[in-house]
């Protein structure tokens, strides 16, 4: 009887002694199981004042940009060399751009054209391409000494060779009066999707290659003689006051 009487306090005392250790063990196991979620978060919060400053991050980004720019220059030069071997039009970045103000806008109605405030005196000539914010707008159709006239991509008489850079399907972008021109594919079964980017074709001898034009909005695979797509232009001619003319 006495042993039993004294036994209970002894067990209680043992339990009381090991309980914190068990609690700590379970907690650490939970931390282990959770891959240290709480631990990492608390650690991150604690050392936040000692994080590396923005200077080092900018320095890293600048070095990455410098490296990418150098690589881009090399690729451009390589591309120019290959294109000159193929006697194709030079790259979009090979020559300067002339900024010009839009002085008259007829982007709706029977004629879709813009008048620019610079002409042949500024080095613009017929056939130069016109770029707006985001992409291609059209081509210079006629030039006077101080003005030039742009035939927009939406005009029914506009025809531009384009391709889908993602899978290299070629086609012809045909203006049809509305804000969304039609892309008629050369292939019978083009593997394109709505949302694909459309840019000028590298096979064109009239236009610099790979200038963004628009995005495929919808595709009609059943159209004859070949499938066609409706293109949403990136540069909206009705909302542009300044454009850039790329001289040839």
């Amino acid at each position: 009887m006495r042993v039993q009487f004294w036994g209970a306090p002894i067990r209680l005392r043992f339990l009381r002694r090991i309980t914190p250790w068990v609690f700590i063990g379970v907690s650490l196991f939970a931390v282990r199981l959770s891959k240290g979620v709480v631990f990492s978060d608390v650690y991150s919060l604690m050392i936040r004042p000692f994080w590396p400053g923005s200077a080092q991050k900018e320095w890293l980004q600048r070095s990455i940009q410098t490296e990418q720019y150098a690589r881009l220059q090399l690729l451009i030069e390589d591309n120019q060399r290959l294109r000159s071997l193929l006697s194709l039009e030079k790259s979009a970045l090979s020559k300067g751009l002339i900024s010009a103000a839009v002085i008259s806008r007829r982007s709706t109605g029977w004629w879709q054209q813009l008048e620019l405030g610079k002409g042949s005196l500024n080095g613009i000539s017929e056939g130069d391409i016109v770029i707006g914010p985001g992409g291609l707008l059209g081509r210079i159709g006629s030039v006077t000494p101080t003005t030039s006239r742009v035939l927009l991509l939406t005009a029914p008489s506009s025809r531009v060779a384009v391709w889908i850079p993602r899978n290299k399907h070629h086609g012809m972008l045909i203006g049809r009066g509305t804000n969304r021109p039609q892309l008629t594919f050369v292939d019978r079964t083009p593997k394109v999707l709505p949302g694909d980017l459309v840019s000028t074709s590298p096979a064109s001898t009239l236009m610099p290659p790979n200038i963004p034009v628009g995005v495929i909005q919808s595709i009609d695979f059943s159209a004859l003689p070949s499938p066609n797509a409706v293109i949403q232009l990136i540069a909206a001619p009705h909302a542009i006051d300044w454009v850039q003319v790329k001289t040839r």
Binding site: T108, G109, E115, T178
Partner: protein, 170 residues
């Protein structure tokens, strides 16, 4: 006629306003982005007043002017020449036209006719291109331009017709 025109430079100057207004194309005077046909609004009262052959020649000259400021493969010439001839004939041999409704109706018919000549030229140029969607755009442009031109005609044409009649151009 030529002598009278020479002595009234405002007649020539008013015709030169047409390409400027076409280039200016103020958006606040447009209907869903379509501006009125300024050529129709100028040619209608002028041809009604000057007669058949001068109307035809005026349509031809105006067509040259507007084609000079327009790109593309379609021309103003066929529509404006025929309209100048028709309105000149109406002014010479038809009944006396003065009411605003008559002027609005003539401007509406003229704008529809001019747009039809553009539409036909586009269809001929794009023959075989399978661009059926051009037709819905062309129909919409035709209707909108005819409507806005007819709405402007009673104000502009009746006023200019009055001026030409006071100047006794015929």
């Amino acid at each position: 006629m030529a002598k009278k025109l020479y002595s009234r430079p405002i007649c020539i100057a008013s015709a030169l306003l047409v390409p400027f207004l076409t280039l200016f194309s103020p958006s606040w005077l447009s209907l869903f982005g379509i501006t009125p046909s300024w050529a129709v609004l100028w040619l209608l009262p002028w041809s009604l007043e000057v007669g058949l052959l001068p109307g035809l020649i005026s349509g031809l000259y105006l067509g040259f002017l507007l084609d000079a400021i327009s790109l593309g493969e379609i021309s103003h010439l066929p529509g404006l020449v025929l309209l100048g001839f028709w309105w000149g004939w109406l002014g010479r041999y038809g009944s006396y036209i003065q009411g605003t409704f008559n002027l609005g109706l003539l401007a509406w018919i003229g704008s529809v006719f001019l747009s039809l000549t553009f539409w036909i030229q586009i269809l001929v140029r794009n023959f075989g291109s399978h661009l059926n969607s051009i037709n819905s755009w062309a129909f919409q442009t035709l209707l909108l331009q005819a409507t806005i031109t007819a709405l402007f005609a009673p104000f502009i044409c009746s006023w200019t017709l009055l001026i030409w009649r006071r100047k006794k151009l015929r």
